[in-house]
C-alpha cells in the first residue's frame, strides 16, 4: 500500500477527497512514512544547497513585510502572498480579528483546491496564476497555528490537504525559504497527528 493522496499532481488532478476508502491502520502507517520520506528528500536538497536555519516552532517564523497593506490600492485587488503573511502575523497576536479573512481564503481553497495569486475585494480570483507554492505553505502554517490555538479540526483538516498538495509538488520546491517552511509544516503536522492518534487510542506501533 502507498499513500496515494500526494502522489499525483494536484494542480493537474485536483483531489476532492470524496468518499475516500477506509484502509485500516496500515493507511496511517503509509501516510507517516510518506511524509517522513518527503522530509528526508527535502533535507538532502537543503544540504546540497546551503545551511539554512531549521525552524522548530511558530515563533521562529517571521516574515519581513515591507508594507502591511495587502490590498493593492490602485488596482483594488488582494495580493495573496502579502495577505497570508499579514494573516500569520495577526493570528499569532493574542487578539486576532482576522478570522473572517482566514475563513474566506480557507473556503476558497476547499472549493477550488487552488490558491490564486490575487483576488479582487469580493474575493473572486482575478488571475489564472495559482502555482506559487509559498501561498499554500503559508496558509498551511496559519492553519496549523490556528489548530494549536483553538483545537478546531477544521484548520488541521485544511492543512492536511494543503500539505498533500505541496508534497505533490515537492520537486518544484526550490526557494530555500519555502523548503525550510515546508519542512517545518510537515514536522508540525506529524507531531499533531501523532498526538491526536494517541489521544484517540489509535497506535501505529
Amino acid at each position: 500500500m502507498e499513500y496515494q493522496y500526494s502522489k499525483k499532481d494536484h494542480f493537474k488532478f485536483p483531489e476532492k477527497y470524496q468518499m475516500t476508502s477506509f484502509q485500516n491502520l496500515e493507511f496511517l502507517n503509509v501516510y507517516i512514512k510518506s511524509r517522513e520520506f518527503n522530509l528526508k528528500t527535502i533535507k538532502e536538497n537543503i544540504k546540497e544547497n546551503t545551511n539554512i536555519k531549521e525552524n522548530t516552532n511558530f515563533k521562529d517564523i517571521s516574515f519581513k513585510i515591507e508594507n502591511k497593506n495587502w490590498k493593492n490600492g490602485k488596482k483594488k485587488d488582494i495580493n495573496t502572498e502579502k495577505l497570508l503573511k499579514f494573516l500569520f502575523l495577526e493570528i499569532t497576536k493574542k487578539s486576532s480579528k482576522e478570522e473572517i479573512l482566514l475563513n474566506k481564503i480557507i473556503k476558497k481553497f476547499e472549493i477550488k483546491k487552488k490558491i490564486f495569486e490575487s483576488y479582487n475585494l469580493e474575493f473572486k480570483e482575478n488571475t489564472k496564476k495559482y502555482s506559487n507554492l509559498k501561498n499554500y505553505i503559508l496558509l498551511s502554517i496559519i492553519c496549523l497555528f490556528k489548530f494549536k490555538k483553538t483545537k478546531n479540526l477544521k484548520f488541521l483538516n485544511t492543512s492536511l490537504k494543503l500539505n498533500d498538495l505541496i508534497s505533490s509538488q515537492i520537486k518544484k520546491l526550490i526557494i530555500l525559504e519555502d523548503i525550510s517552511l515546508y519542512s517545518f509544516v510537515i514536522k508540525k503536522e506529524l507531531e499533531i497527528i501523532r498526538i491526536l492518534m494517541s489521544k484517540k487510542g489509535v497506535s501505529n506501533e
Binding site: 470524496q18 501516510y31 473556503k107 479540526l153 491526536l196 487510542g201
Partner: protein
Amino acid sequence: MNKIGIILTPDTRSKAYITKIISNKIKIDEIIFLDDKKEEEKFHKDIIIESKKYGFDISKSVKSIILKNNLIVKKFDFVDINNSKLIQYIKKSNIEFFIFTGGGILKKDILNCKSKFIHFHPGIVPKYRGSTCFYYSILNENNCGVTSFIMDENLDTGDIIYQKKFEKPSHKFIDDVYDAHIRSETMLDLFNKKLLNKKFKKQKPKGNTYYIIHPVLKHIATLSCILDLKNKSN
C-alpha cells in the same frame, strides 16, 4: 394534520428512509423519486449485514423497494433538486413539508415554493455545519448528532425542528451505513413525536462550517470506533 412528502434519490440514505417509513407504517402523502438511472453501487456482504442490523438493506435499490411495496411515486429522470421541471411540479402540490434526502443547496426558485423542505443533517448545528460532520464529532466528542431543520438558501442554517445525539458506531461502515441510520432514525422521531406541530427554533448565526474530511482524520475517527470496541470486549 400536516401533509408530508418525501423526495427520494437513488442512494443509500433514501434506501434507509423509505425502508423505515414502510416498516414503521408511516403515512406519507406524496413520494417523488429523482432517478438519473445511473448504475447503483454494489456492496460487500459485511456492509449488507451491518445495514440489516440497522433496519434497512443496502443491497436493495430504491427502485426495487418502490416496486416491491407497490408505492405510488412521481418520477423524474434527473437528481437535481433545483431542476425547473421539479419546481413546476412542486409549485402545484399541496404538500406542506417535503423531506429531502439528497445533498446540496436549494436555490431561490425552489425555496419560493409554498412547500417547505426538511433536511436531516448529520451534525448538531451550529457547532457542526457542513460536510462529514459525524467524523469531526467522533474526534471531538466521541459521539454523533443529527439536526433536522427547514432548508434555507444557506448551508445548514435553517430553523431547527429537532436534534438528536447518537452513540458512535462500533464498525467501519460510517459513510454508507451509520450515516443513513442516524438520519433515518431522526426522521422516525419527527413522525412519532409529531415534531412538525411544534415551534421551530432559530439558529444562532455564529457556527462552525466543516469541509470534507481528510482521509488521515477519517481513519483516526473510524479506528477510534473499532479499537474502542475491541478494548471494551477485552
